[in-house]
């Protein structure tokens, strides 16, 4: 933990109301200002106690505090450094350790995730029935069973998708782990939208995890390994721009130059990472938008709105669709509780935040929720299901654009 970064905090407290855990519990040590104070205590010699580690673990890493901070404190860097320190020095309880091992050996590996598809497919209904019983044994396992979506058929993406009409650009595309395995239809829609807008899309089959889950959980080594591999994959594909449709992955890839050193940092800088909505807004529309008579609510993913500062572009793309009405969700800057692996490791807090978000989403009266991140999609879907208020369909913004560009009657 860099003392210089810690000293940037002037203790003004502007971060407090933006912090999801402060909103839930109203405690100083579960606010960004309080956590920075704990970091300071540790740097000044206080050993990392289990209580202290608990408050760091309880941070969602949503970065809403970074947006709110007038002093420019790099809380994002600080919490990453702190999590790495926690992993190095803090001895976790055996059940916590086992769960973490499963998650970090499973999620960042698309092939292993794929192996999970079969059991998940057989038991979508069963899973939800056993979730309450699992809850008593281990809340994290219950959360996992409850969150995983029904798995659609696999979609095999070609290595290269030609641009429709005049070619305006050539871009690489990240397929991601959870996005690729649980939401392949989102990747297919992303590729189609880019092609319809005149982009040649290059999809290297050798790409793996971008390293986001590991980086956000303090597994520095694993994160660096994944980062280097991702850079190499896109270098081989010969692209200098990579379009990403998962907010968490995009924000991590934009940080590559900061987390890697030397030659690799330079190589990271040579590749430009852009979020799909950021890229489309910058490119400007070429294809015709067909009407979609829908009322949609747009959910700000933290790693898009706070980490990448992308708020206006998705709204701009949605409102440009004829007949589509966009509604705002109140308290939109507060995290839904998904936050990467948070809903697996901190299921109680995640559930409270999910319920809070579901309530506000439903209050908009929209008939479709648009999300730009697979984690948020799973989290909000399961929170809405829990309320038993009838399902609200959730789609990625790429699917909405795809439907409009292709003139489909609705979002599939």
């Amino acid at each position: 933990m860099d003392p210089e970064l810690i000293n940037d905090c002037v203790h003004c407290g502007f971060c407090l109301p933006t912090c999801p855990t402060y909103v839930l519990w109203g405690e100083e040590m579960d606010s960004p200002r309080g956590r920075i104070h704990l970091m300071r205590q540790h740097v000044e010699g206080t050993p990392l106690t289990p209580e202290m580690a608990g408050h760091f673990d309880a941070c969602l890493g949503c970065m809403a505090c970074v947006t709110a901070c007038p002093s420019g404190v790099r809380y994002d860097r600080l919490i990453e450094q702190t999590r790495a320190e926690v992993e190095r020095t803090h001895v976790r309880r055996p059940d916590d350790r086992a769960l973490r091992a499963v998650v970090f050996q499973l999620f960042p590996y698309p092939r292993r995730l794929r192996a999970m598809r079969l059991p998940l497919r057989l038991s979508a209904g069963l899973r939800r029935r056993i979730a309450p019983r699992l809850e008593r044994i281990n809340p994290s396992m219950a959360a996992m069973a409850e969150l995983a979506p029904a798995v659609p058929a696999r979609v095999r993406l070609p290595r290269r998708v030609e641009a429709r009409g005049r070619r305006r650009a050539t871009v690489g595309m990240l397929t991601g782990c959870v996005q690729g395995e649980f939401f392949p239809q989102v990747n297919a829609a992303t590729a189609r939208v880019l092609a319809l807008e005149g982009c040649e899309v290059v999809i290297p089959p050798s790409q793996g995890c971008c390293g986001a889950l590991s980086l956000h959980s303090g597994l520095q080594g694993q994160a660096e390994r994944f980062a280097r591999r991702t850079i190499a994959a896109f270098e081989r594909a010969g692209v200098d721009t990579v379009v990403v449709n998962a907010a968490g992955c995009g924000s991590t890839m934009k940080e590559y130059a900061e987390i890697l050193e030397g030659e690799w940092a330079d190589r990271a800088r040579a590749i430009r990472t852009v979020d799909l909505t950021e890229y489309l807004a910058e490119l400007g529309p070429a294809a015709e938008r067909h009407p979609l008579p829908l009322t949609v609510a747009y959910h700000d993913a933290c790693h898009l709105a706070h980490a990448q500062g992308i708020r206006s572009q998705p709204r701009q793309l949605l409102t440009a669709i004829p007949d589509l009405e966009l509604r705002e969700i109140s308290e939109s800057s507060i995290c839904c509780g998904s936050a990467g692996t948070y809903n697996l490791f901190q299921p109680e807090a995640a559930r409270e935040l999910g319920d809070r978000k579901a309530e506000r989403v439903l209050a908009t009266g929209a008939d479709l929720l648009v999300s730009a991140n697979p984690g948020c999609t799973m989290q909000i879907t399961s929170a809405i299901r829990r309320r038993g208020a009838g399902a609200l369909p959730v789609a990625h913004i790429a699917q909405v654009l795809d439907a409009s560009l292709r003139g489909l009657p609705g979002v599939p």
């Binding site: 940037d8 109301p17 202290m52 002093s71």
Partner: protein
Amino acid sequence: MGTKTPDGLVRRLLESLDHRAVITDPVRLRTYECDGLTHHRATPGVVVLPETAEQIAAVVRVCNEYGVPFVARGAGTGLSGGALPRTDGVLIVTSRMRRILSVDVADRRAVVEPGVTNLAITEAVRDLGYYYAPDPSSQQVCTIGGNVAENSGGAHCLKYGFTVNHVLALEIVTPDGDIVELSNTDPGYDLLGAFVGSEGTLGIATKITVRLTRAPETVTTLLAAFDGIEQGGQAVSAIIGGGIVPAAIEMMDALAIEAAEAAVACAYPEGAGAVLIVELDGPVPEVTHQFDEVTRICRENGAFELRVAADPAERAAIWKGRKSAFAAVGRISPAYIVQDGVVPRTALPEVLASIDRLSREYGIRVANVFHAGDGNLHPLVLFDDAEAGAGERAELVSGKILDLCVEHGGSITGEHGVGVDKSRYMPKMFSDNDLDTMQLVRCAFDPRGLSNPGKVFPTPRLCGEVPGVRKGVHPLVESGQAEQF
């Protein structure tokens, strides 16, 4: 647990509070060691997070039982150390009491718990066409309970008045643990007026009835750039002297602009030695007329660029630079002191020139941000805490600025309160007899001196923490004008 609190105290607290609402772990306790003023620190003995007035009353009664002092804290954003904990005491944090209990637009009032943020009240009634007028720059964070304790102001207090003008009734827990209601319609002494601004020394507000103000028909925000603060100051004098009462007139000097620019990229006019933000609100014809007057006065006093906010987004952009100025200074200086003083508006140019002299004499940079309309200065005294002696020099400059305020017939605080930071300056403004009289009021509420002791007053007197410090009978008692309790 805090080693300085008596045995059994925590057990007694747990009788009325959940174990998650009583903090005794030393690492956790330390996160409460200071509020927004970080150079005064004290780790509290125990922290409690009550959710009801009854729980606060129970905690206060336990404190009385053990003779232990207690301090109330909201969001911990205060800038005078008013919520500085006691190592031998209990810190009562209201951050979990954040319900808006009722909104009554017909009667133009809302009833809220003390932990509700200032801005949350406005957000709750905005769609109904109302707002809560006092607007401290920390309004999205600071709590209404803290606003009541400090009688907080804000940019718009020039026209609309301070917290005291917007609180209609209070439910308080008295320093001996009773729950009492005070209202501005009570006959007799204005106890509500005495309580607002008492900085936690007369008890803890547990329910606040605030006045809701009708949103004005129109708002016009204007940004004027000047070569220096002198011209800006003259423009302010001319505007107020011309009989115009804007909703707000704020001024920032070059250094403050630089900080705000670095923090929020507010894009104020380049090369400005000072900017003036003037906001006019009210009925359309009145605002139109005032706007013409203000622009004319600004130009006559040398404004080289005038910008008018065309929509709410541009208005917010103009204010963003001003409202984030305090914390933004963190971008251009490793450490700083936010000072708060008042001078008569007419003395502004002279005082600012003297501050500039002090700054050069001690080699300490001072950025100026102020509510120009009512002469409330917020000099930001910048220093590098890694440099030996810099902190002391900054403290010295900061203190001398207050001397200037008092010399010019002003005050040592406009809106941040006295707290622990300025209690030593109180004798510069008040005689011993004045201070003793204040103590009589305090003793009427808090005879045992348990409610936020060590704040506001320089040394304990009369009934306070150390009985018998004063020798002889108080002059007011002697002359038969007061009775000692």
